[in-house]
């Protein structure tokens, strides 16, 4: 056994299910599918007057990495606008080793996925969905 991927922090993020569920009357909703693996994320957001996220909720039908990423995202999304979310995306990309630079809480938890190319889209899917919702 050489279990590098499912480290405690990732499992904990997934189990926390931060933001799991739906919003009533969301300002925007976006759905993203990964056709290769069948993962699916639906993201609801409520925005304030300046395009900043006031509330967020997600329904994830997908793997633990996707759930953990949606949890991580929900835990830090409130108060951010599109540019702020894009910053999180860069953080995730850095954790995955796809961009140089230091990475921060909570996405630094995904560093073990850097060695698993085929799973990186699972981490990015919620971020893609949120980007769609904000655009």
């Amino acid at each position: 056994m050489s279990d590098q991927l499912y480290q405690e922090r990732i499992v904990a993020l997934a189990k926390a299910k931060t933001g799991a569920g739906k919003l009533e009357n969301p300002t925007k909703t976006a759905r993203r599918d990964n056709p290769l693996c069948g993962d699916r994320v639906i993201l609801d957001v409520k925005l304030d007057g300046e395009g900043r996220i006031a509330e967020i909720a997600h329904q994830v039908r997908g793997c633990l990495l996707c759930q953990a990423s949606a949890s991580a995202l929900s835990s830090v999304a409130v108060g951010r606008d599109a540019a702020g979310i894009s910053e999180l995306r860069h953080d995730a990309e850095r954790a995955l080793g796809r961009e140089p630079g230091e990475t921060h809480e909570p996405f630094d938890a995904f560093a073990p996925v850097a060695a698993h190319k085929s799973r990186q889209d699972c981490v990015l899917l919620p971020l893609e969905a949120l980007k769609d919702a904000l655009s």
Partner: protein, 406 residues
């Protein structure tokens, strides 16, 4: 005596590899099987001592290549119990089904119907959807029973005089269920429909006696049957093939080409446009010969014993559920299961860290997943070279996932 799995394993070099410190417990044979030295050597022999284009050359390399290529056709034909000239080499199983959908499909009229099932692989769904938009045919779907078999009870309702073709998986790539071919052929013939079998998951488990099945078309993939990539087979009844127009155009499939019009060569050449996949075909011929030399009574018992060991082991892990036939009757060694609260991809990923290769997801059968509202399954697909250690490593991995990921 009993089946000698060690001797079989010895013929597959990859099974002795250590990858990142882990052995190779390869249980993803339904996606692609491994290939024996006999196949690798046959291709290398062609590449290093007799490589040339086929059919048209008069020099000795061309004669060697043509002979090897046609010999491969004969080896495949022997494996299927048919005549060599009835065997068409294609780029794969998907390409073989598309050939029928384009060529036989072009003979269909708006309102004609094709019957498939909800259990089919995308490769036996999408070509018919594309034909539907090209030709205005209708597509019907046999439902699937809760134990993962095509529900033949619906045949009488869904077969109509407008049904021209029934195209079904001989063995399901998700549940391992074997089709009751006799029942399908009988019902289809009664309304004058032709029957095609997608044999992708059946061919890797030993010779197929096509004449006794009574079907009209049969397709399978080389890489799942221990052969190379880039090669597949379509068998068709000669009288049907002869009446079918070409699919792709190019060299070798013509009678005479003029600028105004072109006549077609007889089958199989009509359907083998361009330079064929000579090396891969030679490899597949060797794979068929390799399969034919195997003791399949012993191999099948061995494979089914592995299925039993797997099912027993899974039952001892809390929250597992098998999707597919529970008995060993009329099934092949493909087993799908779910682990409550753990996504199939996470099961498969955990198994990888135990050196166990399986497949997780929709298995190119999204309609089936939708029908049973599944996120996907974890699929264990076996070959004669698998052994108890493969199953035990898998069970240890599933137990670990159950403990840590939920």
């Amino acid at each position: 005596m009993s089946f000698d799995v060690t001797a079989v394993r010895g013929q597959f070099p990859i099974l002795a590899e250590i990858i990142d410190g882990l052995p190779v417990h390869y249980l993803d044979n339904g996606a692609s099987a491994q290939t024996p030295l006999a196949v690798i050597d046959a291709v290398r022999h062609y590449e290093t001592t007799g490589r040339a284009n086929v059919l048209r050359g008069v020099h000795r390399l061309a004669e060697r290549a043509t002979e090897s290529y046609e010999n491969a056709r004969a080896q495949v034909a022997a494996f299927l119990g048919v005549q060599p000239m009835e065997v068409i080499f294609t780029g794969g199983c998907t390409a073989a089904i598309n050939l029928v959908a384009f060529s036989y499909g072009s003979l269909l009229k708006p309102g004609d119907r094709v019957l498939i099932s909800e259990i089919e692989h995308h490769s036996n769904i999408v070509p018919w959807q594309l034909l539907r938009s090209r030709a205005g045919i209708e597509l019907d779907m046999l439902p699937v029973t809760t134990d993962g078999r095509i529900d033949l009870g619906a045949l009488s309702r869904l077969l109509t005089p407008r049904t021209k073709l029934v195209s079904l998986a001989h063995v399901s790539n998700v549940t391992g269920a074997l089709l009751d071919v006799r029942a399908v052929v009988e019902a289809a013939k009664a309304v004058g429909a032709r029957v095609m079998l997608d044999g992708a998951q059946r061919a890797p488990h030993g010779p197929v006696d096509l004449p006794s099945l009574g079907v009209d078309f049969y397709a399978f993939a080389g890489h799942k049957a221990y052969g190379p990539n880039g090669i597949g087979v379509l068998w068709g009844r000669p009288e049907l093939l002869d009446a079918m127009p070409p699919f792709m155009g190019g060299g070798s499939m013509i009678g005479r080409v003029t600028l105004a019009e072109t006549t077609w060569a007889p089958s199989p050449r009509r359907f083998e446009a361009g330079t064929p996949a000579i090396g891969p075909a030679i490899g597949l011929g060797a794979a068929c010969a390799w399969m034919q030399a195997l003791d399949w009574t012993g191999a099948h018992d061995h494979e089914m014993a592995l299925v039993q060991r797997l099912m027993d082991g899974l039952q001892r892990i809390d929250g597992t559920q098998i999707f597919g036939p529970a008995s060993l009757q009329n099934r092949y060694p493909v087993v799908s299961f779910m682990l409550d609260g753990v996504h199939p991809h996470d099961v498969a990923q955990t198994l990888d860290s135990f050196g166990v290769a399986v497949r997780a997801g929709h298995h190119c059968a999204q309609p089936l997943m939708d029908r049973f509202d599944l996120d996907g399954t974890t699929r264990v697909s076996m070959a004669p070279y698998n052994d108890n250690s493969d199953i035990d490593a898998l069970l240890a991995g599933v137990a670990h996932a159950a403990k840590t990921l939920r």
